[in-house]
Amino acid sequence: MNSDSKVTTSPLSSMSTPTDPDFKQQIQAICGENVMSCYQCGECTAGCPAAFSMDIAPNQVLRLAQAGFKDDVLTSSAIWLCAGCETCATRCPRGVALSKVMDACRQISVAEGKVAKDQRNVLKMHEEMLRQIQTFGRVHEISMIAAFKMRTGRFFDDVFAGIQMFLKGKLGLIPSVIKGRKEVKELFDKQ
């Protein structure tokens, strides 16, 4: 499936890509969710606030995972555009936390180098955020934005929003730190 495309379903004409039947076990090993529980009712897609921007719908991510179309999932934009709001997980009648499945798919996608080209900035944002937590125990917005912009070269994006946030005191100049920084560091070291 072409990750650049905005089409949510591909026509029946193309024959299938090779499948990996172990993909569902791989997901389950990471996040504990059994994708086979999904019966494709579509409630996750219906409630998803980000579905409009995804190349494949959230329920299709699950269906592709069930059928073992691993590359289609790993190269999709959908797994990166998921905001992790957990609306899907809250509403799923079969108790499948799709948000966790999305997380697992992101991890596998990174590990196997399958991240879609146009979604790599999202990955960088994630990485910078984690670095912040590793350093301060929480996010210091200004330094995170600075680091993100240095990595992506997109210096002038969202400048106006940044000024407004600063004026409202949302962006503190001095980073605050948390008490359990040692414990947080241990968590990162465990990985």
Binding site: T9, L12, M15, Y39, Q60, Q66, A67
Partner: protein
């Protein structure tokens, strides 16, 4: 003549658009009417009391109720005036609701029409004559046609209530389809473990006679009094002498007859019992394959039989028996998928039907429960189950859903995983219809715990590649074409009526639907009855059903028969047809049009042309009063006005038309 007219408001149903008081007022001037009134709910208790009191007070001898359809409340008012001392058939309904107030606005014309309808009813009731019900005796003995689980259950229920039952089965053993199954969804009870005890109960029940290898030839008569001819096919084995030792089966030299019971997956002999737990456990000789009956020399079975039970010169025997009720439980057939070119016309040995797979899984089946491919006996590593093969498919004559396939697909996909742990299962489906107690949960279990790969889509083609079958289909949830390579393909073929269901329907005088399933009297409120009284349906001869539904319906049919037998006599309906023999010319037109086969032609003495010395005989039609439903088709068809309907005589109908014509004339 003293007629009373009662006009009903039906709350606001009639009064909203019809001036009911004006109707009652107008009725007072109709010929013969001595009393007329209106009331809010004539069918209510005060309303009925009002009618009864008026009958006494005004000495009424006929009554017209101007209200709703006679289909709704005619029986109510028949009972009402009957209790007040009149003959129940001296009431007429003027339908001023369905045929007037509900279909018109409130205008003067609407009230006028209500008055005209009431006037017509008055004209008719003036010509009504008292009618009387007759008592008809009942033979308290039931016939059950078909010895599957439905017939077995119905026979046991009726016999347990104390009535004798004859259970007719055309194959050599009762048990039917259920005896072929391995396990049953959703509880996975072994089919034989729960069925064979019931079969034995039937055989040992003092009130049940099992007539296996027999078929119904002819059915005459009516409710409580059926005369049935049953052909007992020649088995060549004397059931009284045969002990069921099975020696003849072992020694028979014809060994290559495809077994019907194993759906062709195994072989049987020419003298055979369908399966080891058969009831009755007496073999029969299949004359089509036995050498003796095909010009060959043999006679081995006769020689080895230790009790001398076998003789080759037995003939079919036709017996005539009387029954009061008939339960039809003839079951279904499975569609032959060899009509499907894109699935290989049935020529690939590893593309089998679900019932064949059932036999392969069954521990007492041809492979003793080992799951192997028919082509080479190898254990399959991947199996594709295909739903809706012929079902939900107008092009192949089954627009309906076969109802049970979703569940047995899930069952087979689960059981096969239990036996072969490393097998991959694929189930192609259009919808999963798991609407029964514990069914949805069962499918969930198959998918989640037993790892069946469910793919939503139909199959376009099945073809061999190497020693595997390629199943080309679609995953419509993905919008992708998919291919599955399977070692074995199992087709859930459509359930369809028995090939000769139409013949049996004709013998019984019952109707069938467009597919030849037997038609029930009412899809919701009379699901086990048919339009002919005394005949009840049980099981899949009516429509595809699973075992729980079949058994429930069989008990329902049995309770209807028991209810019938709880009376010593039944009341005949007096509003039925009769033949005025003086003018009947015996043309037989009424015989042809009668939907209930209630009319036959008989010869009677022609009184007009006969003299004392010379008796002249003529042919006339005769109504079987027990069968006639009073539909009036014969009286509409009769050219000499000889077929007449009691309660709807020509004189009454013409009086109605005259009354209407009079009123129209007055208006002009």
């Amino acid at each position: 003549m003293r007629i009373g007219v009662f006009v009903c408001w039906c709350g606001s149903n009639i009064a909203k658009t019809v001036d009911v008081e004006a109707v009652a007022e107008a009725a007072k001037s109709f010929p013969g009417v001595v009393y007329a009134t209106d009331y809010k709910y004539m069918c209510s208790e005060p309303g009925q009391n009002m009618v009864a009191e008026a009958i006494k007070e005004h000495n009424l001898d006929r009554v017209v109720i101007a209200s709703c359809s006679p289909r709704l409340h005619e029986p109510t008012f028949q009972r009402c005036i009957g209790a007040a001392g009149l003959n129940p058939y001296m009431v007429e309904m003027a339908n001023i609701r369905e045929q007037c107030s509900w279909v018109h606005e409130r205008t003067p014309e609407t009230t006028e029409k209500a008055i005209e309808l009431t006037r017509m009813a008055v004209a008719k009731v003036a010509r009504n004559v008292p009618l009387f019900q007759n008592d008809i005796g009942i033979t308290k003995r039931a016939l059950v046609i078909g010895g599957g689980v439905a017939g077995i259950q119905a026979a046991l229920d009726i016999a347990d209530a104390g009535h004798p039952v004859v259970l007719v089965e055309r194959t050599p053993s009762i048990g039917g389809r259920m005896a072929q199954y391995d396990k049953t969804f959703p509880t996975l009870d072994c089919a034989a473990c729960i069925l064979t005890p019931k079969m034995v109960d039937c055989a040992s029940h003092p009130l049940i006679d099992i007539w296996a290898y027999s078929e119904v030839e002819e059915v005459n008569g009516f409710v409580g009094n059926f005369d049935v001819k049953i052909r007992k096919k020649a088995t060549c084995v004397d059931p009284k002498l045969c002990t069921g030792c099975g020696l003849c089966l072992e020694k028979c030299i014809v060994k290559d007859v495809p077994s019907e019971f194993d759906e062709g997956m195994g072989l049987r002999r020419a003298i055979y019992s369908p399966f080891p737990q058969a009831v009755p456990n007496k073999p029969v000789i299949d004359r089509e394959h036995c050498r003796i009956f095909n010009g060959g020399k043999c006679g081995v079975c006769q020689k080895v039989c230790p009790t001398g039970a076998i003789s080759y010169d037995t003939v079919d025997e036709v017996v005539e028996e009387k029954f009061g009720a008939i339960v039809v439980s003839t079951g279904f057939e499975l569609w032959d998928h060899s009509a499907l070119g894109n699935y290989g016309y049935g020529k690939y040995p590893d593309v089998i039907s679900s019932i064949q797979f059932e036999r392969i899984m069954n521990a007492s089946g041809p492979t003793e429960g080992h799951i192997v491919r028919p082509s080479d006996g190898k254990t399959p590593k991947s199996i594709a189950f295909i739903s809706c093969v012929g079902s939900r498919d107008d092009e192949h004559g089954h627009a309906y859903c076969s109802k049970v396939c979703c569940m047995y697909n899930a069952k087979q996909a689960l059981l096969v995983k239990d036996k072969l742990h490393d097998v991959e299962t694929y189930v192609f489906y259009m919808d999963i219809r798991a609407n029964g107690k514990g069914y949805e949960e069962f499918v969930k279990r198959t998918i989640e715990d037993y790892g069946a790969n469910y793919i939503r889509g139909r199959i376009s083609k099945i073809y061999p590649d190497g020693d595997q079958m390629v199943v080309k289909g679609a995953d419509t949830l993905l919008g992708k074409a998919v291919e599955v390579r399977a070692d074995l393909v199992v087709l859930a073929t459509a359930m369809q009526p028995q090939h000769d269901a139409k013949d049996l329907a004709r013998k019984l005088g019952i109707s069938t639907d467009q597919y030849n399933w037997f038609s029930e009297a009412h899809p919701k409120l009379k699901p086990v009855e048919v339009l002919t009284d005394g005949i009840y349906l049980a099981g899949a001869c009516q429509y595809p059903k699973d075992i729980p539904d079949t058994v429930a319906q069989a008990s329902g049919a049995a309770s209807k028969a028991i209810g019938l037998f709880s009376k010593d006599a039944i009341k005949s309906e007096p509003m039925i047809a009769y033949i005025y023999e003086d003018t009947c010319v015996g043309c037989g037109l009424c015989v042809d049009v009668c939907p209930f086969t209630a009319i036959e032609l008989v010869e009677v003495v022609d009184k007009e042309r006969s003299t004392r010395d010379n008796q002249v005989v003529k042919t006339v039609a005769r109504i079987n009063e027990g069968v006639c439903k009073g539909c009036g088709t014969c009286s509409a068809a009769c050219r000499s006005l000889s077929a007449r309907l009691r309660g709807f005589e020509g004189s009454g109908i013409l009086a109605q038309i005259d009354a209407l014509a009079d009123m129209v004339k007055i208006k002009k």
